[in-house]
């Protein structure tokens, strides 16, 4: 096997035993990038020089006998939504085409301090708005399983980069499914932690009350390892939770005996591709065979999830994106007549269609006279959805569902039909609205394309969620790879 094909935990052993050097590992990953990037197009920015400098640093540490952490020397890609000091950060938008941040986001900083070797910044739907990465202001990323298909989104580049072995793992952000959906479509593991577990400081906000950073990895063990170093209270983020940091790798126990698993019937209903349903039913059987108690449950209010989400997220976005005005940074129209002209044309030229659509939706929803009917009502629905989950979690340790209603669709298939595109996140959005942790693990294929199983945990119930995902992974034995 090539080094770029291995997992974090496999590579860590090789680095510690000096079987390989961080430089050799970086060389392997960059040779893979040279080989496939032209076809996959995962990266907006590749940081080769910085990566080799960092690999050198790690090799010196190893040579001097210093103990290194499990992420040291591991080639890592970062979604271009997270600020990286001195390294261009575009958020997939023309409006930030030339933007070089002056600070690094807390999540990335935590990993850099652990010694990751950053390979670059990955492509995404502009401002994380989309489910296919077709809304990128730069180019479309391809699904490594079928280059004619989308990798999902909005973190499509961070999913394809791991699926195509252009990085050992990556970070994405998930507002309505933007980690779990592309992970499912690209046949890898993707996880969204409990809201507040990972600092959002330095994550360019889409919808502040929903956004959460999480990892894309090749297996659940790697996910737990990354999570260990990603989380922690951050004084720079008022919404970040204060908890004693658990060791999530301790939760990786291959034992489901007595674990109760609920299957919300609303997430197995019409709208889910029957072939996907069949794959999920097989997965449920496997869980049961391993000792879990699996039963159908109901989340009656989640049918309103999409409606509530498409009020709340655009409302917050309309305010969050107001700062992109050409005054202090980013794109500014060169020949503005006056202030209003500068604002209007900078934003008209800098933002893409989907971003403008959501800004308009959100502005409308917050307008005087409409607030109660839209934003106020959506917040009430959100509370009802949380109550539904709380009731279900009184009976079950975790909930499972398909991650997506379909497998990866064709590039261009849904670009002219926003509503069809929005339905791609029907299984993942309720989890964001409730602030819960969710993970997608590969559970099979349909017509040669991967399918994801979503495991939803209780608030701060990452350990149980990881245990179920790990046990499933161990008994399912997924080993398929895209052929590139």
């Amino acid at each position: 096997m090539k080094l770029f094909e291995l997992t974090i935990h496999e590579l860590h052993e090789k680095l510690v035993s000096k079987e390989i050097s961080a430089k050799e590992l970086a060389e392997s990953v960059f040779s893979r990038i040279d080989d496939v990037e032209e076809r996959v197009k995962s990266y907006i920015t590749v940081t080769r020089d910085e990566a080799f400098a960092k690999a050198d640093e790690i090799d010196k540490k190893i040579a001097s006998g210093e103990r290194i952490g499990p992420l040291a020397g591991i080639p890592t890609a970062i979604k271009d939504v997270m600020n990286t000091e001195g390294i261009r950060t575009t958020c997939g938008s023309k409006i930030l085409d030339n933007y070089i941040p002056v600070y690094t986001s807390t999540a990335v900083k935590n990993l850099l301090e652990e010694g990751i070797v950053m390979t670059g910044k990955t492509n995404m739907d502009e401002f994380a708005m989309g489910s296919s990465t077709e809304n990128s202001g730069f180019f479309v990323t391809r699904n490594p399983w079928d280059l004619e298909r989308v990798p999902g989104g909005s973190s499509g580049g961070s999913a394809s980069v791991v699926a195509a072995d252009e990085a050992i793992f990556s970070l994405g952000s998930d507002t309505g499914g933007s980690i779990r959906q592309p992970a499912a479509l690209c046949g890898i593991v993707g996880m969204k932690p409990t809201y507040g577990l990972v600092s959002r400081f330095g994550l360019i906000a889409f919808a502040s009350s929903l956004d959460q950073i999480g990892p894309f990895t090749k297996d659940v063990t790697d996910c737990a390892i990354v999570l260990n170093h990603l989380i922690g209270h951050d004084i720079n983020d008022s919404t970040s939770v204060k908890i004693d940091k658990p060791d999530y790798t301790k939760a990786l126990v291959n034992d489901l005996n007595g674990i109760t698993i609920g299957v919300p019937k609303e997430l197995m209903a019409e709208g889910i591709d029957p072939k996907i349903k069949a794959v999920i039913e097989n997965a449920l059987k496997l869980l049961e065979d391993n000792g879990a108690v699996v039963a159908e449950t109901s989340l009656p209010n989640i049918e309103h999830s999409l409606s509530a989400y498409y009020i709340i997220a655009p409302a917050e976005a309309s305010s969050n994106l107001a700062r992109f005005d050409g005054v202090r940074y980013g794109y500014r129209v060169p020949d503005a007549e006056d202030l209003i002209d500068m604002y209007m044309r900078t934003r008209a030229e800098g933002f893409g269609d989907e971003v403008k659509r959501r800004i308009m939706l959100g502005t409308y929803a917050l307008s005087a006279g409409y607030y109660d009917a839209y934003y106020g009502q959506a917040q009430k629905v959100r509370t009802l959805i949380m109550d539904d989950f709380n009731r279900a979690f009184a009976d079950y340790d975790v909930l499972v569902s398909p991650t997506t209603p379909t497998t990866a669709f064709k590039i261009g298939e849904k670009v002219d039909d926003p509503l069809a595109m929005y339905l791609s996140d029907i299984c993942t959005i309720p989890v964001n609205l409730a602030g819960l942790p969710g993970i997608s693990v590969p559970c099979g294929t349909v017509d040669g394309l991967p399918v994801g199983l979503q495991v939803i945990g209780k608030t701060l119930g990452e350990e149980m969620m990881l245990r179920v995902a790990y046990s499933f992974e161990q008994s399912f034995g997924w080993s398929e790879k895209p052929k590139l």
Partner: protein, 481 residues
């Protein structure tokens, strides 16, 4: 028809915290542009606000001082509008649940007392400052504009009054009272020149006896208490004329022009913003422990009203003096320090502070605690009057000199030979000279014209270059005439 004015004030006050409202940048005034900034107060992508607990505490202390109800649950909202001095194009402010509601301030006017209700006090962040280059210095017509974000994110407290104010004098007294309270609390220096206290006024007229409000105008750019009073007086005149001639008042924002003494339209209602307020999802709602709030209440310092009562009771001062002395904390502190050093009547000290000293301070625009004249200067000077070394007239010259140089009165008296002439013979000789040189006035005096006597005393003082003992001159002049 006779009209009554209905006035409400919105007072914005920058809080005297070390750091800004949502980041750790310094709040110091007057630093080089954009040197006190960070990703948070510049609205860089991905930055997040973290509330300044001290600022929250300051607002609650203010609320306690003016008898507000303190909200045990409160939250921040976003107020959305575009302007280049706003880094995020929304201001973090408060909306439906401000920190404090339903307070009041008692006012002692010259010949009556009144109470002004306070609707709410809320906390928000200040904006940056714009500098328009070219044109008239306003954004319209400027060649280009520059932004200084040093002020962006400084904690800003807004105190909104009920429309209980009826005259420009009440408005001024209310604003001064608020300032005195805030300075006593130590929550702001309330420096109107530096913009750390800014007053906007809403004013409408209604026929006397009517309940409903008329159409209001909002006055901006009231940069001093004087502007506040004059701007409102102008606006009352303008609106009265308009109403009397049957014109409708337009709801609008008007700009007070200090040099032209007029107000002019800044923007009308059609341009009113829809701020699209919604709870800021980056901040968690605030909840307060009632015990903590009671602790703050117990720690409140002496406030101007209490101080005023004490001055009247302990020092026997008339209400007029006591009111003026507590107008700023520094004046009261100066007075008390002086009284502590002085063995005579506190009213004498009050007279000097509110009279000559205030005259010089106002003329030179110096704060009482920043001037050269300290309580010890004033007390030494009054002691010199009391023991007959100098006259009151000389004292006035000494204040002027102390104000300029900071020298002690005794030193000035010695240096300039200003001691009072109290020698019987010396004065007698001068009185003789005056009588000899002014036969007309002497004749007028004998004809019963009292004024002539004053003139003769003045002449004697002139001959002694103001150093003659006035009582002695009076006495001898009367005898000799």
């Amino acid at each position: 028809m006779e009209y009554e004015s209905v006035i409400g004030l919105e007072i914005h006050v920058e809080l005297d915290t070390e750091s800004k409202m949502f980041c750790s940048c310094s709040t110091r005034f007057g630093e080089a542009p954009n040197t006190q900034t960070c990703p948070v107060c510049l609205g860089m992508p991905g930055s997040l606000p973290v509330p300044n607990k001290k600022a929250v505490e300051y607002v609650i202390r203010t609320g306690l001082a003016i008898f507000c109800d303190i909200s045990l649950f409160s939250q921040f909202h976003r107020k959305n509008y575009f302007y280049p001095d706003m880094p995020k194009n929304y201001q973090i402010s408060q909306y439906d649940i401000p920190l404090c509601i339903d307070g009041h301030v008692d006012l002692e006017m010259e010949d009556y007392a009144t109470t002004i209700g306070v609707t709410r006090i809320h906390l928000e962040e200040d904006t940056g400052k714009l500098l328009h280059i070219g044109g008239a210095g306003r954004i319209a017509g400027a060649d280009y504009s520059q932004v200084d974000f040093n002020r962006a994110g400084v904690p800003l407290m807004e105190i909104v009054s009920e429309p209980d104010i009826r005259t420009p004098e009440e408005a001024k007294t209310y604003a001064q009272k608020i300032r005195a309270i805030l300075v006593s609390l130590g929550v702001s220096d309330c420096n109107m020149d530096q913009g750390s206290m800014r007053v906007d006024a809403n004013i409408s007229l209604r026929p006397v006896g009517r309940e409903e409000f008329g159409v209001k105008a909002e006055l901006k750019n009231l940069n001093s208490f004087r502007s506040l009073q004059r701007g409102l007086a102008y606006e009352i005149e303008r609106q009265t004329k308009a109403l009397q001639s049957g014109e409708a008042i337009v709801q609008e924002t008007r700009h007070w022009d200090e040099t032209k003494n007029t107000t002019s339209t800044l923007r009308t209602k059609e341009y009113a913003h829809d701020y699209r307020y919604f709870p800021d999802p980056d901040l968690v709602p605030m909840e307060f422990d009632p015990e903590w709030i009671e602790g703050l209440r117990a720690e409140l310092p002496e406030l101007p009203d209490e101080r005023r009562e004490r001055y009247m009771k302990d020092f026997g001062l008339p209400a007029h003096d006591a009111n003026l002395l507590v107008e700023t904390k520094a004046t009261g502190d100066f007075f008390e320090a002086a009284v502590a050093l002085y063995s005579g009547d506190a009213k004498i000290m009050s007279n000097w502070i509110l009279g000559d000293l205030t005259y010089y301070l106002n003329a030179e625009n110096v704060e009482i605690d920043a001037g050269e004249v300290k309580p010890a200067h004033l007390v030494e000077m009054v002691d010199l009057i009391d023991d007959g070394t100098i006259s009151g007239k000389i004292a006035k010259e000494i204040i002027s000199e102390m104000f300029k140089t900071g020298k002690m009165p005794k030193a000035i008296v010695e240096e300039k030979g200003m001691t009072q002439i109290s020698g019987q013979d010396e004065i007698a000789k001068i009185v003789d000279d005056v009588i000899a040189q002014n036969p007309d006035a002497v004749q007028e005096f004998h004809d019963g014209k009292e004024r002539a006597f004053g003139f003769l005393v003045g002449q004697a003082m002139r001959l002694t270059k103001g150093r003659g003992n006035p009582q002695l001159i009076n006495k001898l002049l009367k005898e000799k005439l």
